[in-house]
C-alpha cells in the first residue's frame, strides 16, 4: 500500500476541489470564481479575498 490516498495525491485532491468550487450547491458563482482565481494565482490569503469580495459588493 504505497500511497495511502490511493489514486490521487494531496495536491491533486486540492486542485480538484478548487476546480469544482462553482459546482458546490448553493454557492454564489462570483465568490467561487474569485476564490478559484486567487488560489490559481497563489494569492489565497485573508486580505486578498476580503478586498476582492468587497469589490464585488461595491459593483453590485
Amino acid at each position: 500500500m504505497p500511497n495511502p490516498l490511493e489514486e490521487k495525491s494531496a495536491n491533486e485532491i486540492l486542485r480538484e476541489f478548487f476546480e469544482n468550487l462553482e459546482k458546490l450547491p448553493n454557492i454564489d458563482s462570483s465568490v467561487a470564481t474569485t476564490i478559484k482565481k486567487l488560489w490559481n494565482e497563489g494569492n489565497l490569503n485573508r486580505d486578498e479575498v476580503l478586498t476582492a469580495l468587497e469589490l464585488i459588493r461595491s459593483n453590485q
Binding site: 467561487a32 485573508r46 476580503l50 469580495l53
Partner: protein, 803 residues
C-alpha cells in the same frame, strides 16, 4: 512508484570511521544486520545515511559543532571525508565528500539525482533509538502537522486558516450590520408605537400621519412614503414661529443659568483694603522691596555666572559665601512681615479669579439674540458698564506696593452695578416668558406639526433601512458561500487525513499486535480530532479505549509503538526508497518482545532492504537466526581512534577472501586470513552441534581460539561416541597445523617462520573436510538437519546421528 535500493555503501574518514568500510548489497545479501558494542563506531553508519540524504547531521547542528566534526580527526588536510552510495539505479550513484576547507559536495550533478535527493529528504530512512518516541510524545497538533507534512498537506493548513479567517471577518461584518439594522428597526418600532417592526405596520402608521395633514393616500412602499412626505412639506407654510421660539428658549436658558449662579464681589474688596493698609506703612513697603532685591542677588550668585567674589548689586569685593550668608540673614530678619505679604498675595490671586469669573458670566448676555433693540437693551448696556469697571479693577489688582498709594473700589461702583444687573435679568426673563406664551401654537397646529415630524422621521428611517438591507443581501450571500467552501474544505481535509490515518493505523496496529500478541490489545488507531485539530493514538485494550497512550503504556511499550509507527509510515509514504536504517532501536525493549520485533522485521519487511545496527549481542544472535535468506551478518570487531571501525566479513565474503589470499601465494598475507576463517567456522560448527564450553563473561566468550575450539569439539564428540561411526583423523590433521593453534591473541599475526603456503592451504582444505564429516553420505543432509529438543540431532534419513 520507485523502488530504489542500495547496491553498496562505502564510508571513509567520516565521524568514527577512519579507514574505508564497505557494505556490498549486490549479491544475495540485500539486508544487513550489524553488531557492534557501544562506542565501536556503529552510529557513524547511521550518521552517514543522514549526512548523505539531508546534507547535515541533526545532532551536529547544535551549538559548538561544525562540519569539521563530520571528519575523522586524524584525516590529513589533503584527505577527504567521503560517503559513497551505489544504487539499483546506477544513474544515481554518487559520493558526498567534505574537504578540510569544509567544502561539501555531491559528485553526481545530474538533475535526476537532485530530484531524487529532494524527494528522499521527505522520506523516512533512518530511525535512531533517541527518536523512537519523538512522534508518540508530540502534542496532538504537532502530530497532525507532521502527518500533513508527510503527505504534502502543509498547504492545506494555510488554506484552512485563510478561508476560516475570511469567514470569521464576514461573519463579524454581517453581525455588525444586522445589529445596526435591528437597532434602527427598534427606533422605528418605538416611533410607530407597534409591538413589532413590520413594513406593513410602518405603512399603516404613515397613512395615519398623512391623514392628519389632510393627505389621503395609500402607502405600501418606500417610494409612496417619500412621495407623501414631499406633499406634506409643500402643505406646511414656512414661518419663523419655531425659530423665534428656539431663540427665546436659548435666552431663557442663559439668563436662568446666570441667575442661578449669580456672581458676588467679595475678594476684590478685601484685597483693596489689605493693599491700602500695607502701602500706608513705608517700613513694610521698603522691607518688601529689599526682600525682592536680595532675592534677585541670591539667584545671580547661585547661578555661578557672575564674577567671583563680587557683589552683583554694588560690585564691591566680597567672598561669595559671605555674601550669600548676608542675604540669608536679611531675608530671615523679619519673618512676620514676610508671612503677612504671603497671605496678601493669596488674597490678590483670589481677587483676580473673582474679577475674571464675574467678567465671564456677565459677558454671556452678549450671546442673546436680540430681535428688537428694546428687548434686552438695558441689560446689555449695564453689562458693558460692568465689563469696563472690571477691566479697571483688574489693572488695580496687578499694582505693586508703593508708599501711601491707595485703591478705591467705591469709584467703580461695581457692587451696585451688579445688583442692578441682577434686577434687569429678572425683568428680561419675565419679558421672555410673555413672548413664549404669545407664540404657542394652537392644538390643531400642534397635531399637524407632530404628524409632519413623524412622517418626516419615518421616511428618513425607512430610506436608511432600505440602504442597509441592500448592503446586507450581498454580504449574506458571500458569507454563506464562504461558509460552504470552508465547511466543504474542512470535510475534505478530515476525510483525506482520515484515509491516511486509517491506512497508517492498520499497519501500526498490525505491527504492534505482532510484537505484543496475546496481551489483550485489540487494536491501535491514530485518530483525527477535528475539535482539537489534532491527531492522537487511541489504544484499544480488552474492549476499552485509552488515549493518550502514555496514560497506559510503559516505556518499553511506548518505544514499541514508536517503532511500529515508523515502520507503518515508511510503508505508507516512502515512494522513492525501499531501504531503511534502524540504529540501536532495541534499547529499552524488554527481553520478551525482542524476538517478536526481529520476527516482525524479517517477516513484514522482506521486500525492503534493512540495515539493522545493534549493540545487543543477545538480540544480534536471536535476530541472525531468523534473518537468514537475503541477510548478511556483520560484527564490528573493534574500534580504535587511529584506525576507526574494523568490521568482520560474512562467511561467504570470508571464503572469497581466503581463496584470493591463497592465490597470492604470500604466506604472511594468507595465514592470518585463513586462521580467522577457520576460527569462525569452528565457532559456527560448535554452535550447530551444541558443544558445551566453560562459561565466560561477554566478549571473552567471543575470544575463544582455534586450539580451544578444536579440543572442546573433539571432547564433545568423544562424549557422545561419535567417533565410533566417524574417523577422527581430521582432528589430528587440523591440530597438526601449528600456525592455527599456536598463537597468542586474536589480533597478533601468527608466527609464520618456517611456514609455507602449502601448510596454509592444507589447513584451509581440512576445515571443509571437517564440516563434511557431519554430512550423511546417504541422504547428503547434515547431522543437525533434525534436532530433537535441542539435544538429539540426526540427518534426514537417520543414519547419521549424535547423542
Amino acid at each position: 512508484m520507485s523502488n530504489k535500493k542500495i547496491s553498496s555503501l562505502t564510508i571513509n574518514g567520516f565521524r568514527g570511521i577512519r579507514r574505508s568500510i564497505s557494505f556490498d548489497f549486490t549479491k544475495k545479501y540485500a539486508s544487513a544486520l550489524v553488531y557492534g558494542a557501544n562506542a565501536k563506531g556503529k552510529s557513524s553508519i547511521g550518521d552517514a545515511f543522514e549526512w548523505f540524504f539531508t546534507g547535515s547531521i541533526s545532532e551536529l547542528t547544535k551549538e559548538g559543532c561544525t562540519r569539521d566534526d563530520y571528519r575523522h580527526r586524524l584525516l590529513g588536510s589533503d584527505e577527504e571525508t567521503r560517503v559513497s552510495f551505489d544504487f539499483s539505479d546506477p544513474s544515481l550513484n554518487c559520493n558526498l565528500s567534505l574537504n578540510s576547507s569544509r567544502k561539501q559536495q555531491y559528485s553526481n550533478n545530474d538533475l535526476a539525482f537532485g530530484q531524487y535527493l529532494d524527494k528522499s529528504k521527505g522520506e523516512l530512512i533512518l530511525l535512531r533509538h533517541k527518536d523512537l518516541r519523538v512522534f508518540v510524545d508530540e502534542s496532538k497538533g504537532v502530530k497532525r502537522k507532521k502527518i500533513s507534512q508527510l503527505i504534502g498537506m502543509e498547504e492545506w493548513e494555510d488554506i484552512r486558516d485563510q478561508i476560516g479567517s475570511v469567514e470569521n471577518r464576514l461573519k463579524k461584518n454581517l453581525e455588525d450590520e444586522k445589529a445596526k439594522l435591528e437597532s434602527r428597526q427598534e427606533e422605528v418600532r418605538k416611533l410607530i408605537k407597534s409591538d413589532v417592526f413590520t413594513d406593513s405596520a410602518c405603512w399603516e402608521y404613515a397613512e395615519a400621519q398623512s391623514k392628519k395633514l389632510g393627505i389621503s393616500q395609500n402607502i405600501n412602499s418606500l417610494a409612496e412614503l417619500e412621495a407623501v412626505d414631499q406633499k406634506a412639506k409643500e402643505s406646511i407654510k414656512p414661518d419663523d414661529r419655531a425659530t423665534r421660539l428656539a431663540r427665546l428658549k436659548s435666552a431663557e436658558t442663559i439668563l436662568e443659568e446666570l441667575l442661578k449662579n449669580y456672581p458676588q464681589l467679595k475678594h476684590f474688596l478685601q484685597f483693596s483694603k489689605s493693599y491700602n493698609e500695607i502701602c500706608s506703612q513705608p517700613v513694610k513697603v521698603l522691607s518688601v522691596q529689599l526682600h525682592e532685591l536680595l532675592g534677585q542677588g541670591k539667584i545671580i550668585l547661585e547661578s555661578g555666572q557672575w564674577n567671583k567674589n563680587v557683589c552683583p548689586l554694588c560690585e564691591s569685593r566680597f567672598e561669595d559665601n559671605q555674601l550669600l550668608a548676608h542675604i540669608f540673614e536679611h531675608q530671615n530678619k523679619d519673618q512676620s512681615i514676610q508671612k503677612e505679604i504671603g497671605l496678601f498675595e493669596i488674597g490678590r490671586s483670589n481677587a483676580k479669579k473673582e474679577l475674571q469669573n464675574i467678567n465671564s458670566k456677565v459677558s454671556t448676555v452678549s450671546q442673546l439674540f436680540i430681535s428688537s433693540k428694546k428687548d434686552f437693551s438695558s441689560l446689555k448696556v449695564l453689562a458693558t458698564e460692568i465689563i469696563t469697571a472690571l477691566s479697571i479693577a483688574k489693572s488695580w489688582s496687578d499694582e505693586k506696593f508703593q508708599t501711601n498709594k491707595t485703591i478705591n473700589p467705591a469709584q467703580l461702583d461695581l457692587e451696585n452695578k451688579l445688583i442692578e444687573f441682577g434686577k434687569q435679568i429678572k425683568v428680561s426673563l419675565e419679558k421672555i416668558h410673555t413672548a413664549q406664551e404669545n407664540l404657542k401654537p394652537t392644538k390643531d397646529e400642534k397635531a399637524k406639526i407632530e404628524a409632519f415630524q413623524n412622517l418626516k422621521t419615518l421616511a428618513s428611517h425607512m430610506h436608511i433601512l432600505a440602504g442597509m438591507d441592500a448592503n446586507l443581501v450581498p454580504l449574506e450571500t458571500q458569507f454563506s458561500s464562504i461558509e460552504i467552501i470552508s465547511r466543504r474544505f474542512q470535510d475534505l481535509r478530515r476525510q483525506t487525513l482520515g484515509k491516511v490515518l486509517d491506512a497508517i493505523s492498520d499497519n501500526v496496529s498490525k505491527y504492534f499486535l505482532k510484537i505484543h500478541h496475546g496481551e489483550g490489545f485489540d487494536k491501535i488507531h491514530l485518530k483525527f480530532l477535528p475539535d482539537e485539530d489534532g491527531v492522537e493514538f487511541h489504544i484499544y485494550y480488552k474492549g476499552e479505549e485509552i488515549t493518550p497512550p502514555r496514560k497506559f503504556l510503559s516505556e518499553s511499550y511506548l518505544n514499541g509503538l514508536g517503532v511500529c509507527l515508523f515502520l507503518a509510515t515508511v510503508r505508507a509514504f516512502n515512494v522513492e526508497n525501499r531501504f531503511i536504517v534502524l540504529d540501536d532501536i532495541i534499547n529499552s525493549f524488554d527481553a520478551e518482545h525482542r524476538m517478536d520485533l526481529a520476527k516482525l522485521l524479517v517477516d513484514e519487511f522482506s521486500d525492503y532492504q534493512l540495515l539493522v545496527l545493534t549493540h545487543d549481542n543477545i538480540w544480534f544472535d536471536q535476530f541472525r537466526r531468523l534473518a537468514k535468506k537475503g541477510w548478511q551478518h556483520k560484527r564490528i570487531k573493534n574500534w580504535s581512534y587511529e584506525d576507526g571501525v574494523n568490521i568482520e566479513n560474512t562467511p561467504g565474503e570470508q571464503l572469497e577472501d581466503c581463496q584470493e589470499a591463497l592465490k597470492t601465494g604470500q604466506v604472511e598475507f594468507a595465514a592470518p586470513i585463513i586462521r580467522t576463517y577457520i576460527e569462525n567456522r569452528l565457532k559456527a560448527l560448535s554452535e550447530k552441534l551444541g558443544v558445551r564450553f566453560r562459561f565466560r563473561q561477554g566478549a571473552q566468550n567471543e575470544e575463544r581460539m582455534c586450539g580451544e575450539l578444536l579440543s572442546e569439539l573433539r571432547r564433545e564428540l568423544n562424549d557422545c561416541k561419535f567417533f565410533s561411526v566417524v574417523d577422527d583423523k581430521i582432528f589430528n590433521e587440523l591440530e597438526a597445523s601449528t600456525f592455527i593453534v599456536n598463537y597468542g591473541s586474536h589480533d597478533r599475526t601468527p608466527d609464520v617462520a618456517g611456514l609455507v603456503i602449502g601448510d596454509v592451504k592444507f589447513a584451509f582444505e581440512r576445515i571443509e573436510i571437517l564440516e563434511n564429516t557431519f554430512k550423511c553420505p546417504d541422504c547428503a543432509k547434515f547431522v543437525w538437519n533434525i534436532v530433537d529438543r535441542g539435544y538429539r540431532m540426526q540427518c534426514k534419513c537417520g543414519k547419521l546421528s549424535l547423542r
